[in-house]
């Protein structure tokens, strides 16, 4: 049998947050990645956001490290301005034809100084700011863009369209402008493809009654987001674009272009709009230095994610008003502002004026993506989202092509990131035989031994063309640098970052035996890694380097005061030299990684994680405390897509049992835990000891036992899972029943449990549809607070209504009353629409009981991972690291993280496996560099460092009674070093004496 060719590379299409995550996970798992982005830079929609819900994290702050990581990754080839033309071949061996469009800038020369933009005469609407302001024809997409290289808008550039102007080429100090660049085609050979094309926001211009097209006081939420942004057109100051007045009142209109098949064809819920509207409302109120009135008009508030409900409550507490009403018409007012006529919850007609209306527009699939789906042969649903199954949520209909992000359905950032990791896992599941065949590694000479040598510092002061030199007297700074202690060499350079200067630097280090290097130029945040590589190439330990940021922090901001700017540059150089003199070579050590995973929990999440790991060739041990596998899914009838869960579980179990890489320990739990990332050793309660490199926690959750509505007292009162079990067992009483009442939010969204259990609304409508289809005469009532059938699940809600299921809304302060009289069960609920109380006598009362955490605090303590206040395992970062714990080597999957439906559980399990693979795939891990160590002589063993370390990297060595840092877990924040009273922890690279020397030199 001929072996099929398998290529150890993958292509990721789309450089948004999902694409970036997929690319990183693939590259870190040993595959070469082509990341294709059609615009100038990666970052996608998230780069446009000001803040992210529900933590109000600064969006740019949290993605920029990721941008930089992608940009610098040796195994990610970033192809910007690139289109995918065709995908030929099959899984394992695709040939992807791409077209690289010209940037008209030589990326290797551009130093992103911005001189070109200053001189460019052409103003163009700025897409990054949603057209609210102008950019030039030569531009960067946004200030933190990666790659940070300018590009020319070929459609607007005078030179490219009319052959005249050329001013950018004239002013460019780096001679980077090249009008002659042409588009090039290329064929990339990859084993799999991940599509993360993202979405476009729904454009409400055709929505005539909302007047978006012609009234400046009606704007979209994304426009409003840019208005809130510190880097936006008004730098965060909320004003109306028409008259630049601060609005006194703002109205958000929800579901614009979502849940709407009349004016738009979008029956689905866009999943994120309620939350972003709440976020924008909160931030707008924070930005306004006055009492801004914000009202949100909605149909259902869908705050179904982790910590979302509290966020919603917080918004209410901050005075944001929520009105349940769908606004039909926006009427512009003469003096600016808008008027709404609407019907209140209680059926009253009313009129209200606002200064500004913000349309919470939905997420839609672009025409380009639709074309792509057609061209590449991918099945989609009626809304053009990619078709997937609940059990393989990232695999598309064409084998070898996977998807993540909004392409598979509207979702928020953490879900996209989770899916991205899942897609990385799935996309490499067939490639593991070729792992590491195409990836590159850096080879550096062994660093020379400088032990015992006095510092010999080389100082390079950069002109940065004219960026620095036009303000700062560079020769003067050079002369000054020569007088500083230990400086052996100082000189100026036109571009410190240029290739020839790097070569010069290597030569000087060798010729003059320089053993510390200082570069006074731009920001270490962007350039330090480059220079550190140069040091390494010269055989000098790369940590013997220090930078002074005399461009961003000096010449660019003190242009009006060259004298002081020069003095500042001298001081900054002196500070860098002072610190450099005290730098010591930092070593990086390698530790072995045990290529095995311990998966705690044998439910759907745990089993999928183990299977995914097995596909990658890694062994795992699954620990399950029950007598059988499957977890809570054993009690579920079917998924919202009507897939049979029981059948799925049987198949899953069979696969696991047949898999030589997976061993299962039933009726066992975690006993003792030792070790850390790469080298855990866990003893199970059955006596077995497992050595493992990573741990995946997938311990699931429980359906709560309600304490109300006669649950446990009357046999007709069931929970969701009890109903499912009865239906699975073909219970005759259920089949014969004529009247069902479902009560939603039983134990959820209440003060003592302030979260939404996320799955219950869908479960209810799915059960209702199921019953109705079997027995069209059944009378079904759903008593709900907000229906939260998010994303495409909204169709199920509609279907239920179409089938005659009756939905009655209730408020928390007038919950349904349940009583029994003889055989009869009485449910009484107030119907706000009719204003009357309804009395129903159901055959079954089904309670959407809250999903509650198993509060695994003992387990959490053993692995030093946190639980949140609701008892869910707490991830490293709610937005960008949804499956990782802060502690390295620890991951989570499934509903121990938060309640979620089957497809999301499977995706998270695959994601956890993908993240785990990035650790397991390295036989040895490099640790060290800028990490802390403990000076044993100074340590009192008091444990302050242990308590403050966010990464559980410090422990007390009980035998010595002193602290010890685990280099493999330390991230170098230095909180231990500043918290210790006796300065026992030393943060390498940022030592006390180094920082003291800087302070002294600053003054």
């Amino acid at each position: 049998m001929a072996t099929k060719k398998v290529v150890g590379a993958a292509l990721v299409a789309g450089g948004g947050v999902a694409g970036m995550q997929a690319a990183l996970d693939l590259a870190n798992a040993g595959y070469y990645v082509y990341l294709v982005e059609k615009s100038l830079a990666i970052g996608g929609r998230m780069s446009q956001l000001d803040k992210t819900f529900p933590t109000n994290d600064c969006s740019m702050c949290i993605i920029s490290p990721k941008l930089v990581e992608v940009g610098r990754h040796i195994n990610i080839e970033l192809l910007t301005l690139t289109d995918i033309l065709a995908i030929d071949g099959a899984e394992g061996d695709f040939r992807v034809r791409v077209r690289k469009n010209p940037r008209y800038i030589d990326m290797s020369k551009c130093i992103a100084c911005g001189e070109c933009t200053k001189k460019c005469p052409v103003k163009v609407d700025n897409e990054y700011n949603e057209l609210l302001d102008k950019r030039k024809a030569i531009y960067v997409q946004y200030a933190q863009a990666v790659p940070l290289k300018y590009g020319i808008d070929a459609e607007k550039c005078l030179m490219l369209t009319k052959g005249k102007c050329g001013s950018c080429q004239k002013v460019c100090p780096a001679k980077a402008v090249d009008y002659g660049q042409k588009a090039e085609e290329a064929v990339l050979n990859v084993g799999s493809v991940v599509l993360a094309p993202g979405f476009k926001p729904y454009n409400p211009k055709d929505f005539e009654t909302y007047r978006y097209a012609d009234d400046p006081n009606v704007m979209t939420a994304l426009e409003f987001e840019r208005l809130l942004g510190a880097t936006g057109p008004t730098m965060g100051h909320v004003v109306r674009s028409g008259d630049h007045k601060e609005p006194q009142s703002i109205a958000f209109l929800q579901c614009v272009g979502s849940r709407d098949i009349n004016r738009a064809d979008n029956g689905y819920c866009s999943s994120v709009c309620c939350m972003y509207a709440i976020k924008e409302a909160i931030i707008a109120k924070e930005h306004a230095k006055y009492d801004l009135q914000v009202t949100v008009f909605y149909m259902d508030i869908r705050s179904f994610g982790k910590d979302f409900e509290r966020y919603y409550e917080k918004a209410k507490a901050k005075g944001i008003r929520f009105v349940r009403s769908r606004i039909h018409t926006v009427q512009p007012l003469k003096d600016g502002g808008v008027r709404f006529h609407y019907v209140t919850d209680h059926g009253q007609s009313t009129t209200e004026d606002f200064d500004l209306a913000v349309l919470s527009h939905g997420l839609v699939i672009t025409g380009e993506t639709q074309d792509m789906s057609r061209k590449f042969g991918l099945e989609t649903d009626k809304y053009n989202f990619a078709k997937t199954s609940s059990f393989s949520p990232v695999a598309l209909s064409r084998p070898g092509i996977y998807a993540c992000g909004v392409f598979t359905g509207p979702k928020d950032i953490p879900s996209s990131v989770m899916e991205a990791s899942a897609a990385a896992a799935a996309a490499s599941s067939k490639l593991s035989s070729a792992r590491g065949t195409l990836t590159r590694t850096v080879n550096v000479p062994a660093p020379m031994d400088i032990n015992g040598e006095p510092p010999r510092i080389g100082v390079f002061i950069c002109h940065c063309g004219i960026n620095i030199a036009s303000v700062i007297d560079v020769p003067k700074v050079v002369e000054f640098a020569k007088t500083l202690p230990f400086v052996e060499f100082a000189s100026n350079t036109m571009f410190a970052c240029s290739q020839d200067n790097q070569e010069q630097m290597v030569k000087l280090i060798k010729d003059m035996r320089l053993n510390r290097i200082v570069v006074s130029a731009c920001s270490p945040r962007t350039h330090e890694p480059l220079f550190m590589e140069t040091l390494a190439a010269a055989g000098l330990n790369k940590y013997l380097f220090e930078m002074a940021n005399i461009r961003n922090h000096d010449s660019w901001v003190h242009a009006g005061n060259p004298e002081e700017a020069t003095r500042k540059a001298m001081d900054m150089t002196e500070m860098a030299v002072a610190k450099a003199a005290l730098l010591t070579p930092l070593t990086e050590n390698v530790i072995d990684v045990d290529p095995t995973a311990l998966v705690i929990g044998g439910g759907v999440a745990g089993l999928n994680a183990a299977l995914t790991l097995s596909q990658q060739g890694f062994k795992s041990v699954v620990v399950e405390k029950a007598e059988k596998l499957g977890g809570i899914a054993n009690r579920i009838l079917s998924t919202s897509k009507d897939e049979d869960v029981g059948k799925y579980l049987d198949e899953l179990q069979a696969k696991v049992e047949a898999d030589p890489n997976i061993s299962v320990a039933l009726k066992a739990e975690v006993g003792q835990v030792e070790g850390f990332v790469g080298n855990f050793e866990t003893t199970l309660t059955n006596g077995e000891t497992v050595k493992h490199g990573v741990t995946i926690i997938a311990t699931g959750a429980l359906e709560s036992k309600p304490a109300e509505y006669l649950y446990g007292q009357n046999p007709k009162v069931l929970t969701h899972l009890e109903l499912d079990e009865r239906m699975k067992a073909r219970d005759e009483a259920v089949d014969a029943a004529r009247t069902f009442v479902f009560v939603q939010c039983v134990g959820s969204r209440e003060p003592e449990r302030m979260y939404c259990s996320k799955v219950c609304c869908t479960h209810t409508v799915h059960s209702a549809v199921h019953i109705k289809k079997k027995n069209p005469d059944a009378r079904i009532f759903v008593l709900y607070r907000d229906m939260r059938t998010y994303a495409q699940k909204e169709d199920l809600y509609k279907e239920a209504r179409d089938l005659g299921v009756i939905f009655v809304r209730y408020d928390l302060d007038s919950k349904p009353k349940v009583s029994e009289s003889g055989e009869a069960l009485n449910v009484e609920v107030h119907d706000p629409v009719s204003g009357r109380n309804l009395l129903i006598n159901p055959d079954f009362l089904v309670l959407a009981a809250a999903i509650v955490s198993g509060r695994e605090s003992e387990l959490a303590m053993k692995y030093k991972v946190p639980l949140d206040e609701d008892g869910w395992f707490f991830e490293a970062h709610q937005k960008l690291r949804p499956v990782d714990f802060a502690t390295d080597g620890m991951f989570m999957a499934g509903i121990c993280h938060y309640p979620k439906p089957m497809d999301e559980v499977v995706a998270q399990a695959q994601a956890a496996a993908a993240r785990a693979v990035t650790v397991l795939t390295q036989p040895k891990m490099t640790v060290g560099g800028i990490v802390a160590e403990i000076n044993q002589a100074k340590c009192s063993g008091c444990g302050v460092c242990v308590a403050v370390c966010p990464f559980s990297a410090v422990k007390i060595d009980e035998a010595k009674g002193k602290a010890a840092v685990n280099e493999a877990m330390c991230k170098g924040c230095g909180t231990c070093a500043s918290s210790c009273r006796s300065d026992a922890p030393i943060l390498r690279g940022f030592t006390n004496d180094g920082l003291f020397a800087q302070i002294a030199a600053a003054l």
């Binding site: 600064c58 702050c61 901001v557 006390n992 003054l1003």
Partner: protein, 148 residues
């Protein structure tokens, strides 16, 4: 010199405020050149001693700035830092440090404007305090004129 020009030592965390200062540069947002920045990985690294050392060495003002609560690159470094700041700030002002000498802020890497605004405010407030005489160590009396 007509006006007193204060010397200020600033401690910025690498991920947020240092980035905001970078962005202020990219955006050419000018501010007074009176402070010198010590880059730290995190405000969590800031030992309270550094603040006292800067004053002791004659800084007229000290400015510490990091990520907004919740934005810390290291999850909780700035939360721990905040507790230290609360105590230190209280103590220094209680023993007579002018309220305008010591400044703390949270500035995200996207908030170049806030950076410019606070940079200006810090310099102006420190300027208004005048030279630091009470929290600096006395100059060494070297008797230099006699020696020379």
């Amino acid at each position: 010199m007509s006006e007193f020009e204060p010397k200020i030592v600033a401690f910025f965390c690498n991920w947020c405020t240092y980035g905001a200062a970078d962005l202020a540069g990219v955006s050419r947002l000018d501010y007074p050149p009176n402070f010198r920045v010590v880059r730290l990985p995190c405000t969590g690294r800031l030992n309270p001693k550094y603040i006292l050392e800067a004053f002791k060495r004659g800084a007229d003002g000290v400015w510490i700035s990091g990520c907004h609560p919740g934005d810390c690159h290291y999850i909780a470094g700035n939360y721990h830092a905040r507790r230290k700041f609360m105590l230190l700030h209280h103590m220094l002002e209680a023993v007579g440090l002018e309220p305008g000498r010591l400044h703390f802020s949270w500035i995200s890497s996207a908030e170049a404007n806030k950076f410019q605004e606070i940079a200006r405010e810090v310099v102006e407030k420190v300027r208004a305090c005048g030279p630091n005489v009470n929290f600096r160590k006395a100059e060494l009396d070297l008797g230099l004129p006699e020696v020379a």
